[in-house]
């Protein structure tokens, strides 16, 4: 052990010495400095070979973990949250919304639309937005989670209303071209080069292509059933309804379904698993075949491309929080919800709020920790995720199709990266921020979260660089910073039995005058689901209060 560390520090010393040498050597640079002609950029381009050498010798990459909600969440779980009574403020509101993700923000948005403006939203974190939060640096804004919204179907009324309000959807029903994802949208790294589009069909054998065609026909058949809708609640899911034919899919995993139907092509299986990891944070083994089918069959194949912003769906958060104003209280973890006569008291460390109705818009697993009397009738498997924002100060080398919005490496355990500067209108400079997504699917829930909590940042840094270096051999020389966000409970995973679970939840209410507004009710995390449940909860609250 000690020998080992000795060796590594010696190596580091040598590396540093080499770097110092390389910087000291280039006479051209020194001469330019002496002439006063050198700016930062000219010294950088002055002796690229030598500076390149110094970078290879260990270019420092800064960064670390960004704030996550684990500390507060664990304090809440363990009853360690500070209950400082002396400085506590009291106030009243008709409705308290607990949780400022898309469900809670949509509930507030809908309450306003119903003329019910007396609500207060309590958010545990320092920013509202939940999975749709974003960040910013000197180069660009960037997402920390959800980063796009598929173009909504004509009957997705609430999504369309919001987009119209945010100036994205015009009166004539057209979407702002600047907000639609610019071309080129996607590319896939396969066989040593980038190819346009995500389907790994480059040089695929004829037998595999036949399976792809068969799968395509299957997706069409699924789509025709009408069972797969976004948001889910609009679909006819009652037992014995027109979509009941698809329910058998929900009893098995996606892998079992692929096996049973002779889909052996590695490219096709990768593609389907890419989809389940990307939308549901689950592997083929973890995710219900029905959910996998939903990914492919719920969207119109001829859509204009997703709506996206540099900061991802934080754009929508900004719109919603902007109109909510000071009715959103951040850094206010609700640790108890108590009955006070016919009313509720929601307690946070600095503020107690009395209200008539509570809208619970935090994840379902948190509810019993805040209200021990409540038991949720279903279990939810939560997928852990890691999202990293990678700051680059120059373009890495690459081969094939040009940089796209979504860039995926075939065979990687990550989901690839999204360029945050893609929607920039002008000619892009060398700097950018890439958002790298990784759903942890190879470990079971609690074990994965313990592992996630213990793994140091430096391992993520190396993991990310190794992953990207397949497609960009010089990536380590282009990156200046890697910020990593850990999502312990990023999203509900739609495991087999999803539909039965959702049916149980649809009959359930945690308490009178309390409604749930969270995508957990749908069993998977999509903006449209969260918004739908937010709107429903708001309408239920309005009914109760109005009557």
């Amino acid at each position: 052990m000690s020998d080992n560390s000795g060796r590594s520090s010696r190596r580091e010393f040598l590396v540093r010495a080499a770097a110092g040498l390389a910087v000291a050597l280039p006479a051209a640079v020194i001469a330019r400095n002496a002439l006063g002609a050198a700016t930062n950029t000219s010294t950088e381009t002055g002796a690229p070979a030598l500076i390149g050498l110094s970078r290879k010798g260990g270019r420092p990459i800064s960064g670390g973990f960004v704030e996550d909600d684990a500390a507060v969440g664990h304090a809440l779980r363990d009853g360690r949250i500070s209950r400082n009574a002396s400085k506590r403020e009291q106030c009243r509101a008709r409705v308290v919304i607990v949780g400022g993700g898309m469900g809670g923000l949509s509930a507030g948005w809908r309450l306003d639309a119903l003329g019910m403006r007396d609500w207060l939203l309590l958010e545990l974190a320092s920013d509202a937005g939940g999975n749709s939060r974003g960040g910013a640096n000197a180069i660009t804004r960037y997402p920390w989670g959800a980063h796009y919204l598929p173009v909504p179907a004509p009957d997705a009324t609430h999504v369309r209303t919001l987009l119209h309000e945010a100036g994205v959807l015009a009166d004539d029903g057209t979407f702002d071209e600047r907000t639609l994802c610019h071309s080129p949208q996607e590319r896939l790294w396969q066989h040593g080069r980038w190819n346009e589009g995500l389907e790994p069909l480059d040089a695929a054998p004829a037998a595999e292509r036949r399976q792809w065609e068969r799968f395509g026909a299957q997706v069409e058949a699924w789509r025709a059933t009408g069972a797969f809708r976004v948001p889910l609640a609009g679909a006819p899911h009652e037992v014995g309804g027109p979509a009941a034919g698809t329910f058998a899919l929900d009893n098995i995993s996606a892998r079992a379904w692929l096996d049973a139907n002779g889909y052996s092509a590695p490219t096709l299986r990768w593609w389907v698993e890419y989809a389940t990891r990307d939308d549901y944070g689950g592997s083929l083994d973890q995710v219900s075949a029905w959910a996998a089918a939903h990914y492919f069959a719920a969207r119109d194949p001829e859509e204009e491309g997703p709506l996206t912003w540099p900061e991802g769906n934080a754009f929508l958060v900004r719109h919603l929080t902007g109109r909510a104003g000071d009715r959103i209280v951040t850094s206010a973890p609700a640790y108890a919800i108590e009955r006070v006569g016919p009313r509720w008291r929601v307690r946070t460390p600095r503020l107690d709020v009395e209200c008539d109705v509570v809208i619970w818009s935090a994840p379902l697993f948190v509810l019993p920790r805040v209200m021990p009397s409540v038991s949720v009738p279903v279990q939810t498997d939560y997928a852990p995720w890691v999202v990293a924002n990678i700051t680059l100060d120059r373009r890495p080398a690459e081969h094939g199709a040009p940089l796209a919005w979504d860039n995926v490496i075939y065979g990687s355990d990550s989901l690839g990266y999204v360029s945050a500067t893609h929607q920039y209108l002008g000619r892009p400079g060398p700097e950018s921020v890439w958002t790298w997504y990784h759903a942890i699917v190879d470990r079971s829930g609690p074990g994965a979260r313990r592992w996630l909590g213990a793994r140091p940042w430096s391992e993520w840094r190396d993991h990310i660089l190794a992953d990207l270096s397949r497609a960009h051999p010089d990536i380590a020389e282009c990156v200046t910073r890697i910020d990593v966000k850990r999502w312990g409970h990023a999203m509900a995973r739609p495991v087999p039995g999803l539909l039965a679970r959702n049916r149980t939840l649809s009959q359930w209410s945690p308490a009178p005058r309390m409604f749930v507004a969270h995508a957990d009710l749908s069993g998977f995390s999509l903006f449209e689901e969260a918004q739908w449940h937010g709107v429903q909860a708001a309408e239920s609250a309005a009914r109760v209060l109005g009557g």
Binding site: E177, C181, S183, P184, P402, L425
Partner: protein, 498 residues
């Protein structure tokens, strides 16, 4: 020892043949007429080898030292031969003298190798064995080289790096010889150091070979280059042949001074002459100031705002004497304001209305430029266009890139503008297309400024007539989220260049 000696013969024979093949292939590639090039180069080379063989008689003492030195020299000269020839072609007027001079020099050195080696071996073998073995391995090496060259080296390494690689082999043979003949070389340290230095130089060339090739190839313009400048965004090359000045950006011709007046008069006057009250004019792209030169012919124009991404370009066209003569110092005119910014971003972030807007971007050959031809962009431009104003857009060739041209027209229409497509013939470009667009109907002008070289009032209406092979085709408008124009453009120019 014997095997090592004959391997040496084999290698130096291979190297000698490779240099000859490189010179022949490069001359054929650059000058054409491969029969002439190969014949004259083989002839010169063999003759020079004869000179070398004859000269070997004058080397009396220190044969081994001379042999090693010749190996290093052949390695350096032969190794860099392809690079020197490339650079000589692109950056000088003296390609043929350099070519034959270099072939002669390498031939002489190669011609010296075998006689010297035979003399070194004379003490070890009988004369008949020396001749038989040396010539046998000489021919084997030649066969190996002649097969490797077309099958492996040219496709895999290219000419420049193939030559460098064999130069390196020559140097290695030289170094190896200092060990092979160590008994005859009591003081071989200097030779070894020289060999290592030569190897380093060649190795560096090999390492950076690709970059140098690109540099050399970029310089392959038909006319002498009078200015080459790298800006942050592009490589600007200016060539001159007699009185014709040509500007290339990243290798693409932007104008030839011989006929650019046709292009720029057509870009500006059909629109601006129809707007007798136009005071505020905006030019997007066009950092060469040639469109501005035409605009300044209207005395009622009060301000011209030129927005060009590349400061290197606008500075060049505001300072270089030849270019100032070409654009009549347009960019120095007090009415002109130059802004270096991305047009899309600048329009998005600035207010300001204009009576006439000229859009003169490079052709939509990639997604970055393609953004500047989208309906989103034209909608933004429209917000800066006065109600009764017009914009004129350079729109690539309706003949060579017919779908691209009509896609630009469709895009302008999709942005809610009336369009008036027209075209002119510019000899250095061919048939070229423009589109006038605006919110109000367009009437061709009744008068034009003095001193135009191409357009007349009577000729203008005829420009709007499209013959059958350039007439409209059904195409999609170009949008940020489909960039169909870039795809049309790629397909069409690929078909032309095939």
């Amino acid at each position: 020892m014997n095997a090592a000696l004959f391997a040496t013969v084999c290698l130096i024979a291979a190297c000698g043949l490779i240099y000859e093949l490189v010179a022949g292939a490069l001359a054929s590639y650059l000058l054409g007429d491969s029969v002439t090039q190969f014949s004259t180069i083989i002839g010169t080379y063999l003759f020079a080898m004869g000179i070398g063989s004859w000269l070997s008689r004058f080397i009396v003492r220190g044969v081994v030292v001379r042999f090693v030195l010749i190996e290093l020299l052949v390695g350096i000269v032969g190794g860099f031969s392809a690079l020197i020839l490339f650079l000589a072609f692109t950056w000088t007027d003296a390609f043929r003298p350099v070519l034959y001079g270099l072939v002669t020099l390498i031939g002489i050195l190669v011609g010296l190798e075998i006689p010297l080696l035979m003399r070194i071996m004379r003490e070890r073998f009988s004369f008949k064995d020396v001749v038989a073995n040396v010539l046998t391995f000489d021919y084997i090496g030649a066969l190996a080289a002649s097969l490797l060259f077309p099958l492996l080296l040219v496709p895999r390494l290219g000419l420049i790096r193939s030559a460098l690689l064999f130069g390196l082999i020559n140097v290695v043979v030289g170094f190896w010889s200092t060990w092979l003949f160590r008994h005859e070389l009591p003081q071989r340290r200097t030779l070894q150091v020289m060999a290592v230095l030569s190897a380093l130089v060649l190795g560096a060339g090999l390492w950076k070979g690709q970059a140098i090739t690109t540099f050399a190839e970029e310089g392959m313009y038909a006319d002498p280059v009078i200015l080459a400048k790298d800006t942050r965004y592009q490589r600007i090359i200016l060539t001159n042949w007699k009185d014709d000045l040509r500007l290339f950006l990243n290798g693409h011709l932007q104008f030839a001074s011989r006929d650019e007046y046709r292009y720029h008069e057509a870009l500006v006057h059909p629109g601006l002459a129809a707007l007798p009250l136009a005071k505020r004019v905006l030019v997007l792209g066009g950092g060469d100031g040639l469109a501005v030169r035409e605009i300044l012919k209207y005395s009622q124009v009060e301000t011209v705002t030129l927005v060009d991404l590349d400061e290197g370009m606008t500075t060049l066209f505001a300072s270089h004497n030849r270019l100032l003569a070409l654009n009549d110092s347009a960019l120095l005119d007090p009415r002109v304001r130059v802004v270096n910014a991305d047009a899309f971003v600048w329009l998005d972030q600035h207010e300001g209305m204009f009576d006439f807007i000229v859009i003169d971007f490079p052709d939509p050959s990639n997604y970055h430029v393609g953004k500047l031809y989208t309906s989103a962009f034209y909608r933004l431009v429209r917000q800066h266009l006065a109600d009764d104003g017009f914009l004129a857009v350079q729109s690539t060739s309706p003949l060579f890139a017919r779908k691209s041209y009509w896609s630009i027209v469709a895009t302008l229409q999709g942005a809610g503008l009336r369009t008036y497509p027209y075209h002119v013939y510019v000899p250095s470009f061919g048939e070229w297309g423009f589109v006038l667009a605006g919110a109000v109907p367009y009437q061709p002008p009744h008068s034009l400024p003095e001193g135009l070289r191409f357009l007349t009032v009577r000729a203008i209406p005829a420009l709007f007539d499209f013959p059958v092979d350039m007439s409209a085709v059904p195409v999609e408008p170009n949008r940020l989220n489909n960039q169909v124009l870039v795809r049309y453009y790629e397909q069409e120019w690929e078909a032309i260049n095939r």
